[in-house]
């Protein structure tokens, strides 16, 4: 880990997060931002490995930074750090390309662990997010089945999502399906990736459609 973007508007929390991140990645260089505009500028100039983005910021939503990062530096990992645990807030950020989310009020130990897991490729997935993802792909499947075959979920991925939605933890699902913890994590990562790709394709289609209408 070299460069880590930390986007957070509350100074105390930013300081706290910074110390936490440094605890996990002692050698990392942390670039702190308190506004979306600053973060977008940084994304243009600095190469990041990890970005921790708050959602509700004074001049906009951290989702924009996540989306920008996905466009400009696809290999950078974005993680949403937020006070919101509801899918209404989280889902757009996940669609924009975030690989998971961390709730800010959790204890230092828990966040440290989650951060480590995410950086090792084990993003978290809550039942409500899983349900939303299932619904999203179900609605996508009908009209654009031919247009984007590569962004539909595989049976395994759907199975994992369904089990998460019922409240099983990822290790439990691994045991149930006879798969390693690592494989399950890969499925989750794939689900996040497809969510992002699918929503970008959807946006492109939408733009094309609007363009056709305008002409």
């Amino acid at each position: 880990m070299n460069n880590i973007l930390l986007l957070e508007d509350l100074p105390e929390i930013r300081a706290w997060l910074k110390s936490l991140v440094l605890q996990v990645f002692p050698t990392a260089r942390i670039i702190e931002c308190s506004r979306v505009q600053d973060a977008l500028l940084q994304v243009q100039s600095v190469r990041f490995d990890l970005a921790l983005c708050d959602l509700g910021l004074p001049d906009g939503s951290g989702t924009d930074v996540v989306a920008k990062l996905r466009d400009v530096q696809p290999e950078a990992q974005s993680v949403v750090v937020t006070i919101h645990d509801d899918d209404e807030h989280l889902f757009p950020a996940l669609q924009a390309g975030a690989y998971g989310y961390i709730l800010k009020e959790q204890s230092r130990e828990l966040i440290t662990e989650q951060l480590q897991r995410i950086s090792q490729g084990e993003p978290p997935l809550s039942p409500s997010i899983a349900r939303k993802v299932i619904k999203y792909f179900a609605s996508m499947a009908k009209p654009q089945a031919n247009a984007m075959p590569e962004v539909s979920l595989t049976d395994r991925e759907s199975e994992v999502l369904l089990r998460v939605a019922k409240g099983f933890t990822l290790p439990e699902i691994g045991v149930q399906l006879g798969l390693s913890r690592h494989t399950i994590a890969d499925y989750v990562k794939q689900i996040y990736r497809k969510l992002n790709v699918s929503s970008r394709a959807e946006a492109a289609l939408e733009a094309q459609r609007l363009g056709l209408f305008r002409r």
């Binding site: 509350l10 105390e12 929390i13 706290w16 509700g56 006070i83 919101h84 645990d85 509801d86 800010k104 009020e105 959790q106 204890s107 230092r108 828990l110 809550s126 039942p127 409500s128 349900r131 998460v164 939605a165 019922k166 409240g167 099983f168 933890t169 439990e172």
Partner: protein
């Protein structure tokens, strides 16, 4: 749309035909009545001696001329100037002397008549000075007592004041005398009465009817400018009523010259009304006619005045031809237009116009060729009858149109009422929707504010407080706040989804704390119910509190959570193998463990929360919620 084509019901189509039959019958009766043969007892006097009376001198019978009756003071004859003339007729002594009273019947004596028998005045028709009484069309009957008759050599003197053809506008009113009939009084009286009906009474009746109906239609058309043809037809009828008045109005306050001028000019007015009526009825409003026709009405009397009384007949004759041509052109135009528009009025109107035109032609021919006066009587009644018929028809059409307009107005009113009701309903729905929207927006705003302000502050406390207790409290407060917000904004939650959320939270928390968790719940198919967001939030709190207690206080190594559905109730049983909850001296469970608040929350949901605990045997918490109550609450 053609103004004369209002929607009509099929049944009254027979109406004009019926009226036509009625008229035809009337005319036949008239013809039959008039054609009744005079009785053999009467005698006709058709030879006369004629002298022109010189003012202030006795009549010069020596210079008398013998003339045949009927005799008219036409041009080209010796006696062709306006004057007072005397006809002397020899009255043979009647053979039927048993009769005490005889009658002398003069069918036409134009314009005023005085009769002497053997020097005795037996009849005075009216004024001989201007304004001269106008009795041209009035059949006159005088009683002749038998006592006045001599045995032989009876002399009748008929004194007439009349006008030359040049000074009148119609051949009908040129001075002259018809043949004179003499016979028993009752026979003569019957004869006279029959004639009087057709010559005077019927024209009077027609005049009255036309005047009344014409005025009515004029007013009707005047107030409905869309139906202006009604007004013109009304004017036509009024004009025709005045024209008919020439037949029966005897004593006018103005002299002959003015009367004749007015009568001639009346034709211009009738032409105006007729032409405008036909144009408007055809749906046309030519701008030129609006000025040309009234101008003609002024121009005609002007030319007559300028030409002078001596050329009245000639000039008015020219005018009449001109006016007739105009009316004829308008009639042809109307018929062509009605044909083009496929109007239903084409044939009735064509028939009517044809009959009226034919009647006028017959009347004119009868006058010009001096045919039997009875033809003229019938012919001059036909146009008036036709106008009355057409008037009735127009009023009927107008009434029908008015009725249908009324009907559509009523329909429109109903539609407006319906539309208004619909708008009101929509408005009510919209208001409701608006209220919901506003409420929803307000909830979202409060939720956002709570997150941004309270949430941020609590979060700062969580991570900056030195005291672990304060951090924990603040974290719990934050979770509470989040749940409150969800309850504030939340939609109903499917029970199956809620079970998933609860399982994930409970199992991961227990695992993180090193407690072995066990979860059992009904399968997907068994739980189609939904929970209100309030029930979801409160149950989450109760569950969270219970798990926190187990982790913090019980020291348990195992915990099982069982969810069940029984008799419409949702039951949650949380059981651990810990040390149980210490009982206070008063026998109540420790309040520090939040049992009271758990029970309070359950009570809010009309459910109950039972806690069974004994030291060393763990704790069982049973939460029971009635599902029906909370499945639909928002």
């Amino acid at each position: 749309m053609h103004p004369a084509c209002p929607p009509r019901r099929p049944s009254p189509a027979a109406w004009p035909r019926l009226a036509g039959w009625w008229c035809w019958l009337l005319l036949c009766c008239a013809a039959v009545t008039l054609a009744l043969p005079a009785q053999a007892q009467t005698m006709w006097l058709d030879r006369a001696q004629l002298v022109t009376e010189a003012p202030g001198q006795p009549p010069d019978w020596a210079g008398a001329r013998s003339v045949a009756l009927p005799h008219a003071w036409d041009s080209g004859q010796p006696d062709s100037r306006s004057a007072v003339r005397l006809y002397r007729l020899a009255l043979p002594t009647p053979a039927f002397t048993s009769n005490p009273l005889f009658g002398l019947y003069v069918e036409q004596a134009c314009s005023v008549l005085q009769v002497r028998l053997n020097g005795q005045l037996i009849h005075d028709g009216g004024r001989f000075e201007e304004p001269v009484t106008r009795n041209c069309h009035r059949p006159q009957l005088m009683a002749v007592p038998a006592a006045l008759l001599r045995a032989h050599g009876n002399v009748l003197e008929l004194r007439i004041r009349g006008y030359a053809l040049a000074e009148v506008s119609s051949r009908q009113r040129v001075g002259g005398l018809s043949a004179v009939e003499f016979g028993p009084y009752d026979v003569m009286a019957a004869h006279h009465a029959r004639r009087l009906v057709f010559a005077i009474r019927l024209p009077e009746v027609m005049s009255g009817a036309l005047l009344l109906m014409g005025s009515f239609m004029f007013v009707m058309g005047w107030f409905h400018r869309e139906q202006s043809y009604l007004a013109y037809f009304g004017a036509l009828m009024v004009g025709w009523a005045l024209l008919l008045a020439r037949l029966w109005a005897a004593d006018l306050p103005v002299d002959n010259q003015v009367t004749e001028l007015a009568l001639a000019s009346l034709m211009a007015f009738i032409t105006l009304a007729a032409v405008q009526f036909l144009m408007r009825y055809a749906g046309r409003r030519p701008q030129g006619l609006r000025i040309a026709l009234p101008a003609q009405c002024l121009l005609m009397p002007l030319t007559l005045v300028v030409a002078g009384p001596g050329r009245l007949y000639t000039v008015s004759g020219v005018w009449f031809v001109l006016l007739a041509a105009q009316v004829l052109a308008a009639a042809v135009f109307y018929l062509a237009e009605a044909r083009r528009q496929h109007s239903r009025q084409l044939w009735p109107m064509a028939t009517l116009l044809g009959v009226v035109g034919l009647a006028l032609l017959v009347e004119f021919t009868a006058q010009a060729l001096r045919l039997d006066s009875r033809i003229g009587y019938v012919a001059q009644l036909v146009p008036a009858l036709g106008f009355l018929l057409l008037g009735l028809r127009l009023v009927q059409q107008y009434g029908r149109a008015f009725q249908s307009a009324e009907q559509s107005r009523a329909e429109l009113e109903v539609r407006i009422r319906e539309a208004t009701a619909q708008i009101e309903r929509n408005f009510a729905q919209l208001s409701e929707l608006k209220v919901e929207q506003v409420t929803d927006r307000e909830r979202k705003r409060i939720a956002a504010d709570l997150h941004d302000d309270l949430g941020a502050k609590l979060l700062t406390i969580v991570h900056t407080s030195d005291s672990e207790r304060i951090s924990t409290l603040a974290r719990e407060a934050l979770e509470e706040m989040r749940l409150s917000v969800r309850g504030l904004t939340g939609k109903p939650v499917k029970l199956i989804d809620a079970l998933g959320d609860w399982r994930a939270e409970v199992v991961s928390r227990l695992n993180q704390s090193g407690v072995q968790g066990e979860w059992s719940a009904p399968s997907d198919e068994e739980v189609p119910q939904t929970l209100s967001s309030r029930a979801y939030v409160q149950t989450t709190r109760i569950l969270r509190e219970a798990v926190s207690n187990i982790i913090k206080h019980s020291g348990a190594s195992q915990c099982s959570v069982r969810c069940m559905l029984a008799d419409g109730d949702f039951q949650l049983v949380i059981q651990d193998n810990g040390k149980g909850i210490p009982t206070e001296l008063d026998g109540r469970l420790d309040k520090g463990h939040g049992m009271a608040s758990m029970k309070g929350r359950a009570k809010q949901l009309q459910g109950q929360c039972l806690v069974e605990s004994s030291p060393g045997y763990g704790t069982v918490i049973r939460l029971t919620l009635p599902l029906e109550r909370h499945t639909t609450m928002g």
